[in-house]
C-alpha cells in the first residue's frame, strides 16, 4: 500500500509548477560553479566548494527552500484541496500515509539537491584530488533532507499555514537565531547537516563553519526525524475532516 501512495505522491509533486521552479533554483549553484571555474583566480577550489558553494549556498538556501516547498506540498496540498479523503477513507493504517509522504518528499528533495551538489562539486573540483568533499555533502544532504521532509510534512498536518510557518523557521529561526544565539544551535537542522558533513570529510571543519561536532549532529538528526515522524503520525490519526475547509 505504501508504494501506491508513494507513487501517487511522486506523480503529484512532479507535475506541479513549483517543482520546476525548484529545479531552476538548483541550477544556480551549477552556474556559479561554472563561473568559478572560468574566472576564479586565487581562491582554493576546496575552500570555495566547501564554504561558499556547499555550506554557504546549497545547505543554507537551496536545501531548506526545496525541502520546504516539496514537504509542505506532499500532504499539505491534498489536505488543502480536499483530496486527502481518498487516502483517509481506505482500509490502511494512517501511519502508512505519513511514511509514504515523507519518503516521497525525501526522494524529490534529495534528488534535486544531491544532483545540484554533485554537478556543481564536480565542476569546481575537477582535477583536484579527493572528491571527498562532494561525498561528504551528498551524505549530509541526504540526511538533512530526510529530517527536513519529516519536519515539513509534520507541519502541514498540524497547520493549515504550514508553508508560512516553515518559511519563518528557515529564514527567521535558522538564519537569525542560530547565528546570534550560539547556545540554540542544537535546534537547527542546518547545523546538524553541516555537522554530518564534517563527519564524512577530513577537511577541517572551520572551512565551512560546522558548529556542531559530527557525533551529536548525527544523533540529533536521527532523534529528531524519529520524533517528528511519530508526532506526525499521531496528528494524522487524530485528524478530522471538516466539511468546509
Amino acid at each position: 500500500m505504501i508504494p501506491v501512495i508513494f507513487g501517487l505522491t511522486l506523480r503529484q509533486l512532479v507535475r506541479q509548477r513549483r517543482t520546476l521552479l525548484l529545479v531552476l533554483l538548483a541550477v544556480l549553484p551549477v552556474l556559479l560553479a561554472l563561473l568559478f571555474r572560468f574566472t576564479a583566480e586565487d581562491v582554493t577550489p576546496a575552500r570555495f566548494a566547501a564554504n561558499g558553494l556547499f555550506a554557504g549556498f546549497i545547505v543554507n538556501l537551496v536545501l531548506p527552500l526545496t525541502a520546504l516547498v516539496v514537504g509542505t506540498a506532499a500532504l499539505g496540498q491534498e489536505i488543502e484541496d480536499g483530496t486527502v479523503v481518498y487516502l483517509l477513507g481506505k482500509p490502511l493504517p494512517r501511519w502508512m500515509i505519513v511514511i509514504a509522504k515523507v519518503a516521497a518528499a525525501w526522494l524529490v528533495t534529495a534528488a534535486v539537491v544531491v544532483s545540484c551538489v554533485v554537478a556543481s562539486g564536480l565542476i569546481v573540483l575537477t582535477g583536484e584530488e579527493g572528491y571527498g568533499l562532494v561525498l561528504a555533502f551528498v551524505v549530509a544532504v541526504l540526511a538533512g533532507s530526510l529530517t527536513y521532509s519529516a519536519l515539513f510534512v509534520g507541519l502541514s498536518i498540524r497547520f493549515g499555514r504550514a508553508l508560512i510557518i516553515g518559511l519563518a523557521y528557515v529564514f527567521v529561526w535558522e538564519a537569525l537565531v542560530s547565528l546570534f544565539i550560539p547556545g540554540v544551535r542544537f535546534l537547527s537542522v542546518r547545523a546538524y547537516t553541516l555537522g554530518v558533513a564534517d563527519a564524512v570529510t577530513d577537511a577541517p571543519a572551520r572551512i565551512f563553519e560546522a558548529s556542531l561536532a559530527p557525533g551529536p549532529a548525527a544523533l540529533l538528526l536521527t532523534v529528531l526525524t524519529v520524533l517528528i515522524t511519530a508526532y506526525a503520525i499521531r496528528r494524522l490519526n487524530a485528524y478530522e475532516v471538516s466539511e468546509r475547509v
Partner: protein
C-alpha cells in the same frame, strides 16, 4: 448481514466549542435508500462525516455494520463515501483515478473492478481523459465510481445531487435505487425536497442538529395529527358547502377567496369520513378535493417552525 443494522447512530452529539452541530441523534438504518433531509447548516454534513469515520463524535456512538466508525480503517472495505467537495486528482485520467482507489483498497483485480465501476457510472467514453478536464457532473460520477469500485455494503453520499442537471439526477437516482435493490444501504443527504420525495424509501429529518422526524415522509405527516391539514375543495356551491362544513367538529376553519374554498381540519380521519355526508346533506356535489400540504415542503416548514 450479521444482524446489525447497516448504520446505527446512538445518542450522538458533536460540538465545536460552544456551537452544537449535532444534538443527541439516535437512529438505525437498514438496507435500502435513506435520505437525510435538512436545511443548510442543520448538521447533515457533520452527521455524514461522523458516519464516514472522518469526524469523531463528541459523545455517543456511530456504528456501521456493528463496528465503531472512528479510527477503524478496516471498516472502509465495506463503506463507500462520496463527499461534497469537488476535488479529484486532476492529473490522473478517470481510469487511473478509479484504479488507484481500487489499489488502495487492496483489491485483487483492480483493473476489472475499475472497468466495472466506470461502466456503472457510464463514463466509459471519457475514462482516458484527465479528470481535470471533466465537467462538474462527470467529476461527480467519477467520484461515485471510485466509491463503488470495492463493492461496498454501505454507501454514503453528501449532497450528491448538488448542481446536477436533470438528466444526471435521473441517472444517479436510478443508480442509487439499483444499489439499494442489490442489498446495500444507501444514505444520501440533501436539502432539495423533490429529490427526497422521489427517491427516499425512508427519510431522516435533521433540523438545527436534532433529529426531528424519521420514517416514510407521508407516514410522518400522518403522525403529526396535532397540526391542521388543509384541503382545497371544489364543488358546485362553495359557499353553502363552507357553511355546512363549519358545523362539523372536524372542521377548524374554512375560507373563501373568490372561487377557492380551503378547509382546515384537525382531525384528518373524521373529515374524510364526514365530507361526503355533509356535502350530500347540503345538496352540493364535490367535484375536487386535494391536500394542500401533503408535500415534503410543508412537512419541512412545519418542523423548521417548531
Amino acid at each position: 448481514m450479521t444482524g446489525h443494522p447497516a448504520i446505527e447512530v446512538s445518542g450522538v452529539s458533536r460540538w465545536y466549542g460552544n456551537v452544537v452541530a449535532v444534538n443527541d441523534v439516535t437512529f438505525a438504518v437498514q438496507p435500502g435508500v435513506t435520505g437525510l433531509l435538512g436545511p443548510n447548516g442543520a448538521g447533515k454534513s457533520t452527521l455524514l462525516h461522523m458516519m464516514a469515520g472522518f469526524l469523531r463524535p463528541s459523545s455517543g456512538d456511530v456504528r456501521i455494520l456493528g463496528e465503531s466508525t472512528w479510527g477503524r480503517p478496516e471498516l472502509y472495505r465495506r463503506v463507500g463515501i462520496v463527499l461534497e467537495r469537488e476535488a479529484v486528482y486532476g492529473g490522473l485520467t478517470g481510469y487511473e483515478f478509479v484504479r488507484v482507489n481500487a489499489r488502495l483498497h487492496g483489491l485483487d483485480n483492480p483493473h476489472e473492478a475499475t472497468m466495472r465501476a466506470i461502466e456503472l457510472v457510464d463514463l466509459g467514453a471519457a475514462k482516458d481523459r484527465r479528470t481535470g478536464t471533466y465537467s462538474k457532473g462527470m467529476k461527480q460520477r467519477i467520484k461515485i465510481a471510485a466509491a463503488l469500485v470495492h463493492d461496498p455494503a454501505v454507501l454514503l453520499l453528501d449532497e450528491p445531487f448538488n448542481g446536477a442537471d436533470p438528466r444526471q439526477r435521473l441517472h444517479l437516482m436510478d443508480l442509487l435505487r439499483q444499489m439499494a435493490r442489490e442489498g446495500r444501504a444507501v444514505m444520501f443527504s440533501s436539502h432539495i425536497l423533490e429529490e427526497m420525495e422521489r427517491l427516499g424509501d425512508g427519510v431522516l429529518v435533521i433540523v438545527a442538529g436534532r433529529l426531528a422526524a424519521s420514517g416514510d415522509f407521508r407516514a410522518i405527516r400522518r403522525l403529526m395529527t396535532d397540526r391542521p391539514h388543509e384541503f382545497l375543495v371544489e364543488s358546485t356551491d362553495n359557499r353553502v358547502l363552507a357553511q355546512a362544513l363549519l358545523g362539523d367538529l372536524a372542521v377548524s376553519g374554512a375560507s373563501l377567496e373568490g372561487d377557492r374554498l380551503t378547509v382546515r381540519t384537525d382531525d384528518f380521519t373524521r373529515f374524510t369520513e364526514q365530507l361526503p355526508r355533509i356535502a350530500q346533506a347540503a345538496r352540493v356535489t364535490v367535484t375536487g378535493l386535494s391536500p394542500l400540504d401533503e408535500s415534503l415542503e410543508s412537512v419541512f416548514e412545519y418542523l423548521v417552525a417548531r
